[in-house]
Subunit: 192 residues, 2 copies
DNA sequence: CGGTCTCTTGACGGAGTTCAAAGCTAGTGG
DNA sequence: CCACTAGCTTTGAACTCCGTCAAGAGACCG
């Protein structure tokens, strides 16, 4: 059963007792085909997703209509527009499936009920957000102190599996540079 | 009593009952004078700080010895090297007082005990980390999609009080540009 | 008052962008 | 299954923003 992988993920971070398997009741399994959108900027969504299989990208669209990738998420990662989810605001991010994906979906009301009924989940999400803070801090440090080439090298080192599945165009957008620049950087690297 | 401001901060996010005021027992009041370091890169620290008064900067030092400011924190904010604190690693960030400051300090062991003894604090820190994720996401979006001028305008709009207390050199470092560039950007802005 | 640190200004150089064109790749429909 | 097309990647040339280096003016502290 697909839902099992979420349970395992939770158990990797906190201790569950037997009846806490009811946690899975708050979630629904959903499938999205490649290129479809889990969430679109400007819309209300109020769902968070736990990815069972496949890969998505989270991006913003700027005033000029350009897309900027914030993150790539795959198996055993949470994804969603957290601020929109928590604060009941319209989404500022869009989320698109890069591959066919299977996710567990939870809406905001169920999420609050779950936290209320199973206090151990407060700890689980405390740890989830804590880890998100770690990862984001690393990214911010790199954005203000690394050159584009250093950011690219760090990216392929940190996410060797993910790059196989993502176009360079999207990686360039993630790094904050143009596809042309990334192409030149890659050429420079393979030269050495 | 200084410790009161932490209690008020907690109560703004979660409900405390009377005996939960014992939470303050896990904390010590500490004073740091301007320019002194709460934490130095490469050292073990394992403390987190809640700022009662004053202002600090968090920064990293790169291979060339240049400092890059990650954040400025003042009254009623938590600050520390979270990753070092949680994972028992040496600090990758340094924290320096920009003004004379008063903080409440908690070490890792006390923090774990507090979370254990007062489960409501799991929720409190879940919310704290959640808010940190919001703020950092905004920063990442701006770093990959804004020009230096846009980042500066966004910074002074978001933190109008803080800029009064911080040198341009430090703001430039926060924005990921040189002091010279910031000086030119400011000149350009006042022209219009 | 002198020294250090900060801010400003100028000239130059370099990393990355923009625009354009050509080669490749992968998805689509016949 | 092949052919076609749209999108992706590469490459080139010109340009732009920002960094680097250097020098001078102003502010702060002992």
């Amino acid at each position: 059963m697909h839902k099992q992988s979420l349970l395992e993920h939770i158990k990797r971070h906190v201790d569950l007792n037997s009846n806490e398997k009811e946690i899975l009741n708050y979630f629904d399994i959903k499938l999205f085909s490649k290129k479809s959108f889990l969430l679109t900027e400007g819309k209300m969504s109020r769902c968070e997703y736990f990815i069972i299989s496949g890969c998505v990208r989270v991006f913003v669209t700027d005033n000029s209509g350009l897309e900027h990738n914030l993150s790539f998420n795959s198996e055993n990662w949470w994804v969603g527009d957290l601020k929109s989810f928590i604060k009941n605001e319209v989404a500022t991010y869009s989320i698109q499936a890069i591959e066919d994906i299977t996710v567990l979906q939870i809406n905001h009301k169920s999420w609050l009920n779950m936290l209320n009924d199973f206090p151990v989940m407060e700890k689980y999400f405390r740890i989830m957000f804590q880890n998100a803070v770690f990862a984001q801090q690393t990214r911010i440090v790199q954005s203000i102190s690394y050159t584009a080439e250093e950011r690219y090298l760090s990216f392929i080192k940190s996410y060797p599996k993910v790059i196989q599945r993502i176009s360079q165009k999207h990686i360039a957008s993630y790094l904050g540079i143009t596809p042309e620049s990334l192409s030149r950087i890659r050429k420079e690297i393979t030269k050495n």
